[in-house]
């Protein structure tokens, strides 16, 4: 942390404040002290501040709640050459993300309270942003035995998930839901029927032309429908970590119409890219679930707008060149996205598709609500986690400048509109672009 960034009373004034949680959207400022928000809104002005308060003029800039990213993979512990909690947190800070929820498929796997504790301590010592882990639903992510969900929750896991695996065994998943409900633990599923998902991209004409094995979208729909029936049976809180196709959206809508405790997410990749971006076997576009067609992409965007899709995630998954510079079928799944999530998503605002407040809500207030976190909002008494954004500044994604240790960004050399100029976590500036610090 840079000197001069010690928490003390600071006022950010003359900004535009967007806070979906409180419905704020307009000119104003924010006053922070000792890591907490004291006041926010049009009444926080330069004139109002007393001696001892540092006043920062934010004319032309927008202040949004710090983003809460529900799906981040790091390589710590076990594969630190891909990413550590520290390097991921630098990428997060540069992208306006103030809370990263990390996935349990590390080595060792986060299926034990001691590992949850390790992650939290390690993050406290090395990471610039808040970190909370999701733990495994099943021991070793093997899909055979339930992990100690109660103990994991006590240790600080915010949800359980088998990360990139679906829990295929219906009986086991039913038991996990039933058991998790007693602890009010959220169960997060990677929705994919494994036996239908042995391909490497969306099942489509493109896949046939490229000679690549396809994954039909029905693989996702089948698992989602099954899961929702089990939620109906058990009443547990369920979150589909990412949906990727139009049909899943109608399943989600029907479940919500029934009043079931079901939520879902979508990755920013699925909102901004489609399967055609794979072009001639570009492995940075090989992600799971696979990119679908343009109709699916548009449907997903509409789903975020109307709230059927609750949250947007980066699905940040660092992979080294060794696992990506391979023939498509042999390359690893995954793309990084922490640093570019906000800017990429802002494209949907700039092209007039999505209201800004909904876009921000899906990356802040909504995930915080689902996970029961007190961040993700700009309200007096909330943690001072926020980002100062220049909505109109464009920048080009360059491999060498990305903070992540792995460089597998599908947006390499793309120019995005809107960038983070300052990120504040618990009142401390953890990222500053340009002159501000």
């Amino acid at each position: 942390m840079s000197p001069g960034a010690t928490p003390h009373r600071r006022a950010y004034v003359n900004a535009t404040i967007i806070d979906p949680f409180s419905g704020l959207s307009g000119p104003g400022g924010i006053l922070v002290d000792d890591g907490w928000i004291l006041a926010v809104g049009p009444k926080v002005t330069k004139e109002q501040q007393g001696v001892g308060t540092t006043v920062l003029d934010c004319v032309g800039l927008t202040i949004i709640p710090g983003l809460v990213d529900m799906r981040v993979f790091t390589g710590e512990p076990g594969t630190e050459y891909r990413e550590t909690l520290a390097t991921a947190s630098e990428a997060a800070a540069a992208g306006g993300v103030t809370t990263m929820i990390v996935m349990p498929n590390t080595q060792p796997i986060i299926d034990d309270a001691a590992i949850v504790d390790y992650i939290l301590r390690r993050a406290r010592d090395t990471a610039m942003v808040r970190v909370a882990p999701m733990a495994a639903i099943t021991k070793g992510l093997a899909g055979e035995m339930m992990s100690e969900i109660g103990g994991l929750k006590e240790a600080g896991a915010v949800a359980v998930t088998d990360a990139t695996h679906s829990v295929a065994n219906a009986n086991l998943f039913r038991r996990a839901l039933t058991y998790a409900k007693d602890f009010d633990m959220l169960v997060v599923q990677h929705v994919e029927e494994p036996s239908l998902s042995r391909g490497v991209m969306n099942s489509s004409e493109s896949a046939s032309r490229l000679g690549l094995a396809g994954i039909p979208f029905m693989s996702e729909v089948i698992m989602l429908e099954r899961d929702i029936r089990l939620v109906e049976l058990t009443g547990a809180r369920y979150h589909a970590s990412q949906i990727s196709c139009a049909e899943s959206l109608s399943v989600i809508r029907a479940a919500k119409a029934k009043g079931l405790p079901v939520t879902c997410g979508v990755s920013v990749h699925h909102l901004t890219l489609n399967e055609n971006d794979i072009g001639a076997y570009r492995t940075f576009f090989k992600i799971s679930p696979p990119l679908r067609n343009e109709g699916d992409r548009r449907a997903l965007v509409a789903g975020v707008i109307d709230g059927s899709i609750d949250v947007i995630v980066s699905s940040h998954d660092p992979q080294s060149a060794d696992t990506k510079r391979l023939p498509f079928a042999e390359a690893a799944f995954g793309a990084i996205g922490l640093e570019t999530m906000l800017s990429a998503a802002l494209g949907l605002f700039h092209n007039g598709t999505m209201p800004l407040s909904r876009l921000i809500e899906a990356m802040s207030a909504k995930p915080a609500e689902i996970l029961g976190l007190e961040s993700g909002r700009l309200a007096p008494g909330a943690p001072a986690d926020f980002a100062v954004v220049d909505l109109n500044q464009s920048w080009t994604v360059q491999e060498a400048k990305l903070h992540s240790r792995s460089k597998n960004s599908p947006l390499e050399n793309c120019t995005l509109e809107g960038r983070v100029v300052e990120t504040v976590v618990a009142g401390r500036t953890v990222y500053a672009y340009g002159r501000r610090s």
Binding site: R198, E205, A207, S208, R209, G211, L212, A213, L326, P327
Partner: protein
């Protein structure tokens, strides 16, 4: 220069192809999808000239003298590899074949590392086969020599499609308007994909005949008619192209049994009668006799399967020649 003199004095060659005209616009030969109708015809003409030359007395040429061709096969192959080897040698190139599956890769080296290593030895041609779709293209991006795709996964096998077209052309003269039925395991077949692209470019009416489990998603969008019975699919066909049932690629259950597959889709005398009486029977090999094709038919009067192999050498000579013109033209002027 002996070749040049031979070529200039050879009446067929003179009429068909002026000897140094550039044929291919690209440095590599990776996919039929990338080449134009004109390029295909020029390659077929050139290959035809090599067929004539192949049966002549002086079949050793010095066209590629001093040039190195490396065959890099990440997947076992008998006919394609030997065909490329003979093609290169007949043109005077120094040919080296590497069976990579038994050397570096088994020590953990990646495709790109192997390619870079060989590239550092400055070969002129790299002929590559790989079990993954797109692998040859990936490799071509990283090397400076001319890369020829000898089959990548389930994507393309462009020289096979050329040799099939040459075989058809020799019997039917014009490919445009022919009804060509491609039968069997289209899903796993790079040969089928290259053939569909090529025959469509030449104006044939291409059909695929297979159980739906062996057809790729949205195959109709490739510009083919889709049939699920041999009876309908072979009706009035001018060419019946059988595909190998790729038992080794079948990770799941695509057909219930080989017996059932033979009963419904195996080509025998009875099913061949649905096609035109002079229909050609083709197979890219290696054949599963008694599964997709009966020996009676494979060795019968309508079969041109052995001729396909012969054409293979000529077509590969044509591709090597055409690619080398991209640098030979520079020297000539």
């Amino acid at each position: 220069m002996q070749t040049l003199i031979l070529a200039l004095t050879h009446p067929v060659l003179m009429t068909i192809v002026p000897h140094r005209r550039q044929i291919l616009s690209s440095q590599h030969f990776l996919a039929i999808d990338d080449v134009s109708h004109t390029e295909i015809n020029a390659l077929l003409d050139l290959a035809q000239s090599y067929v004539m030359e192949g049966s002549a007395q002086h079949r050793q040429s010095q066209l590629l003298e001093g040039q190195t061709q490396v065959n890099l096969f990440f997947e076992a192959s008998t006919r394609t590899q030997s065909s490329f080897e003979i093609a290169g040698k007949r043109l005077g190139a120094d040919v080296m074949s590497m069976a990579v599956s038994t050397s570096a890769i088994s020590k953990g080296e990646t495709v790109l590392d192997t390619a870079m290593t060989i590239n550092a030895m400055h070969p002129n041609f790299l002929v590559v086969r790989h079990p993954s779709s797109g692998a040859v293209e990936l490799l071509a991006q990283k090397v400076s020599c001319a890369v020829i795709n000898a089959g990548d996964g389930q994507h393309e096998h462009p020289t096979q499609a050329l040799l099939d077209a040459l075989t058809i052309r020799r019997h039917k003269i014009v490919i445009e308007g022919l009804k060509i039925a491609i039968c069997g395991d289209v899903l796993h077949s790079r040969v089928a994909r290259s053939n569909i692209h090529l025959l469509n470019k030449l104006g044939a009416r291409v059909r695929v005949v297979a159980p739906s489990t062996l057809l790729p998603t949205a195959i109709a969008n490739f510009g083919v008619e889709v049939f699920h019975t041999m009876h309908e699919g072979l009706r009035d066909a001018d060419v019946v192209m059988m595909l190998r049932l790729q038992l080794e690629r079948m990770s799941g259950a695509f057909v219930p049994s080989q017996r059932e597959y033979y009963n419904f889709y195996g080509l025998n005398d009875e099913k061949l009668k649905f096609a035109k009486p002079d229909a050609l029977v083709m197979h890219p090999g290696p054949m599963n006799r008694g599964i997709e094709i009966d020996s009676n038919v494979a060795d019968g009067a309508q079969s041109v399967i052995r001729e396909q192999v012969e054409m293979g050498v000529a077509v590969r000579m044509a591709v090597l020649d055409a690619l080398s013109r991209n640098w030979r033209t520079g020297e000539a002027s």
